[in-house]
């Protein structure tokens, strides 16, 4: 069964304390691995798409990487405004509909 699992469920960091969020996936024929940011009371906001193992993408303090079994979202020197829930999602090869399988999310809190 296709599955996406994120860890940890919650993460508390001090401002400037770098860390990584993990997304493990079991998906037949991965077509794309997506990262979203979700603020409380709002819809998910697209961050990155990764298509193949070894690929990396960066945006400000965030860098996403992909291996054959997992993806990492690295947060370098985080600021309080980076506090949010980060969602990982995968699209599998047999889907020609763009359907995504979401993980349960990691809630990040960055304290000043």
């Amino acid at each position: 069964e296709d599955q996406v699992t994120q860890s940890p469920e919650a993460l508390r960091l001090q401002e400037g304390e770098s860390s990584s969020l993990n997304c493990s996936y079991t998906v037949s024929g991965l077509r794309g691995l997506f990262w979203y940011r979700q603020d409380p009371g709002k819809g998910p906001e697209f961050l990155f798409t990764l298509y193949s193992a070894g690929e990396e993408k960066e945006k400000e303090r965030l860098k996403a990487t992909l291996t054959k079994k997992e993806s990492f979202l690295h947060i370098t020197a985080p600021k309080p405004e980076d506090s949010a829930t980060y969602l990982c999602a995968a699209s599998h090869g047999s889907s020609n509909t763009g359907k995504l399988i979401f993980g349960q999310g990691t809630t990040l809190q960055v304290k000043p």
């Binding site: 794309g32 997506f34 009371g41 819809g43 697209f46 020609n96 359907k99 349960q104």
Partner: protein, 113 residues
């Protein structure tokens, strides 16, 4: 562009009532999706559409119906509301299956009592 808009933002229903959640996108996207999000459970796909006139079931379709008469609109109908349908509902759209990052609306918070 307004992107993906949803109405209403909040709604309280009594058991057995019906309602329609509205979703509109102005990006000329072919693909549209309805998800529900429960605490700690991630997003679950309810229904999706690959174009006007074409819809299909997702992971959790029971108790819901959809229609897609235009490219812009993708309403979700709840018939005979049940407490299990208490959730936050998100509509999303994407251009195609090549550049298929999905763009989400702000959500509708529904409570069934």
């Amino acid at each position: 562009n307004a992107g993906v808009t949803q109405t209403p933002k909040f709604r309280i229903l009594k058991i057995g009532q019906s309602m329609t959640l509205q979703c509109t996108q102005d990006m000329n996207h072919n693909y549209m999706y309805w998800y529900r999000q429960d605490p700690g459970m991630g997003l679950k796909l309810i229904y999706y559409s690959v174009g006007a006139g074409i819809t299909d079931k997702g992971e959790v379709p029971n108790g819901y119906n959809v229609s897609r008469s235009t490219t812009e609109d993708f309403p979700l109908r709840l018939e005979l509301a049940a407490p299990s349908q208490t959730s936050v509902y998100f509509c999303a759209s994407s251009l195609d299956i090549i550049a298929y990052e999905q763009y989400f609306g702000p959500g509708t918070r529904l409570t069934v009592t």
